[in-house]
Amino acid sequence: MEKIAITGIGVVAPSGIGRRQFWANVKAGRSFVKEITRFDASKYPSHIAGQIDDLEKYSNISERLLKKMDAFSHMALIASELALTDAGIDIKKEDPNLVGIFLGNAIGGWLYAETELRDLYIEGREGVSPYMASAWFPAAPQGQVSIYYGIKGFSKTVVADRASSLQAIGYARKTLSKNKLNMILAGGMEAPVTPYALLCCNTYGGLSEDNAHPQAAYRPFDRKRNGFVIGEGAGIMVLEPQQRAKARGANIWAYVTGYGTTCDGKDRINPDASGKELVRAIEIALSDAKVNKEQIDYISLDGVALTDWDKSEISAIKSVFGKRAEKIPASCPKSAFGNLLGASGALDLIITVLSMEHNLVAPTLNLDDPDLDGLNYVRGQAMEHTINKALVISRGRGGINSVSVIEKGEK
């Protein structure tokens, strides 16, 4: 199977818009979790998040178009533009039938939806924007990106809770490897900092309620962990076959070489405590990449900061890597800006690629007292380390396990 290259990176995150600003903040371990200011969230049990306040500053999208879309589509458009620019691709010169879009998200465009539903009940049918039908649903960003660039190739939106975007990237790689398309915009976006979406996240019961200390609230694998913090944003990459990327002289950031996914099939919300299906997903991904587990030199952790999730994740890693798990640097840098739910896997993968590029592992924040032994956690500050082959783990509610293998690109 031909290797699939990552040739462009587009990031829209609380820690920064554009890969340079994002990486500068992530590697420094600066936290961007704070009290929600977009609306009065003070009555919610958890009212802290990684929020993006200045999206418009980075956007060239007309007001006429903006009023038709939710923030998650807007984020996807900005991230797509950044990724295409980074890849040096002029989309007008591409065959539109051979370009695809594979994006993941978990909840859809609720800021738009809840505003219009409010108007429905207050003003009646005529109070609802006709764009409601096309703005809120999970595939809306795929549609907006497709229309904006005139992209017409095979495309997909994946909805698989927090594993959505890593799954989308997995499918994108598979599609490219069958020579069905020339390139794909792959990743995910999520905009959960809205009254209704925040309510749903709260009732799920997995959020940290340490509102008094926003920057210390998200503490994956720490003894005092009490849940995760939500964040909003998008991570989209340009993927293309190695041969094409090399032929056009593209900068190859890294390769996506393996992918594995399994389901726990145990519970509607919680994972299987044993982590055995995550073990299988890791093994499938390694086998798919034809990479020996001894070659993995970095693990990007999912790190939900809930006991069952953290324990099963560590248990699975130890089961696969044995004693060597104590040596492989592992980190969960999203503790600095929040869990972007369906977009979290894409952001984790981008951080992994940037870590490879800079020979620097970004730190896990707030992991002061590891509760679970047996891993080489990178915490507090970044660690110099050469990464050639990495594992990215992303998991969704009910036990959806997704794992990618990423390999360093040649310079």
């Binding site: 007309s62 006429r64 009023k67 006709p130 764009y131 039908a133």
Partner: protein
């Protein structure tokens, strides 16, 4: 009549966030400024409110010009 046309144009300028000079009286809305069917749904509702008349999606389409729309609205106003 001129007031009716000015008011119609004002509705489109506000809805589409465009400059008034982008609207041409004798070119159809779809070809000239790319109005789509969803934008027309919004326009029909807004024009109905602006002129206090009952309009539906069949009365006004994206293939009409501002002049065509003025005729439709004027006829509706005259039978009020």
């Amino acid at each position: 009549m001129a007031d009716t046309k000015t008011k119609i144009k004002g509705v489109f300028v506000e809805l589409l966030k465009i400059k008034p000079e982008e609207l041409k009286d004798d070119l159809n809305l779809s070809d000239s400024i790319g109005v789509d069917s969803t934008e027309m749904v919004e326009a029909v509702i807004a024009l109905g409110k602006a002129f206090s008349i009952n309009l539906n999606a069949k009365d006004i389409t994206k293939f009409m010009t501002i002049n065509d729309i003025e005729k439709v609205i004027s006829s509706k106003i005259s039978v009020k």
